[in-house]
Amino acid sequence: MDPILVAVGAVIGAGLAVGLAAIGPGAGQGFVAGKAVEAIGRQPEAQSQIMITMLLGQAVAETTGIYGLVVSLILVGIAQGLI
């Protein structure tokens, strides 16, 4: 196959990978932050515990978005190797 065509496909795939992978964590982590703020509003003295737990949960939920980033880096590397 024409290497330029494969490189174009790889770069478009890289953009789509990060773009689509950013939807899930964005929505999920925003929802979790809202729930955490609600919990702090109900019990302000537990604030530091709630905040630590929320950060822990959000960093784990971020992982699938990071998978999208790694896939796009691999694709950009392939495209650079082909041109």
Binding site: L55, A59, E62, I66, V70, G77, Q80
Partner: protein, 218 residues
């Protein structure tokens, strides 16, 4: 910026092994930590002064972390967990100096995740016996065994990729900002991408390691 999209540069080779710039940065961090550790523990007193206070605070912080996630009977892990925390924290913060952080190299983060993988299965086999440990993989229903095995392989893989992806994402974005405006604008971005993400990802990696080892040992 294109520099960070390629593999780290190979500086020299020891026999068949290539030594890249990230490995050398890791050695610099280790040397700095050893020097500071040596200075902090010279002439230990029972009423600490100066640098020894900071060292005791760090050790107490790690002890609280182990109690929170694994329970206080597993305090024997303190040596490895404390060293792991210090190493990952300071290799993440190396990005503040403009060098390529060692944890932005997939080989280094996968090496750390491999150590976690070996720890999980070694301590699990030691607490349950080898046959008993394989039996725990076959719960609750026996035909879930291949799914459980894939899950066990995926967890350390996700640990390594999570650390690598966060740090290299921060490094690439900082390089793009430096390509644009290099004078005063990068400062708050360094504060978020290097300091905040570095500390948070250290905590996540170490806490998840301890949770997995604790689960395997129960």
């Amino acid at each position: 910026m294109e520099r960070f999209l390629e593999a780290p540069r190979v500086i020299f080779r020891i026999g068949p092994l290539p030594i890249t710039e990230t490995v050398i940065n890791g050695w610099l961090v280790m040397a700095a930590l050893m020097v500071v550790g040596f200075i902090a523990t010279r002439g230990l007193r029972s009423r600490p002064r100066g640098l020894q206070t900071v060292a005791e605070m760090i050790v107490q912080g790690c002890q609280q972390l182990i109690e929170m996630t694994m329970g206080s009977d597993k305090m024997g892990f303190l040596g490895y967990i404390g060293s792991l925390t210090m190493f990952i924290l300071f290799t993440n913060l190396v990005g503040l100096t403009g060098l390529r952080p060692p944890t932005s190299d997939l080989n280094i983060t996968m090496g750390l995740a491999l150590i976690t993988f070996l720890m999980i299965h070694y301590y699990g086999a030691r607490s349950h016996g080898v046959g008993g440990y394989i039996k725990t993989l076959a719960q609750p229903v026996v035909f879930l065994l291949p799914i459980n095995i894939v899950g066990e392989l995926a967890r350390p893989l996700s640990l390594g990729i999570r650390l690598f992806g966060n740090i290299i994402g921060g490094t690439i974005i900082m390089a793009m900002i430096y390509d644009g405006v290099a004078v005063l604008v990068p400062v708050p971005f360094h504060l978020y991408f290097d300091v905040f993400v570095g500390i948070l990802q250290t905590f996540i990696f170490v806490a998840l390691t301890m949770v997995f080892v604790g689960q395997a040992m129960e």
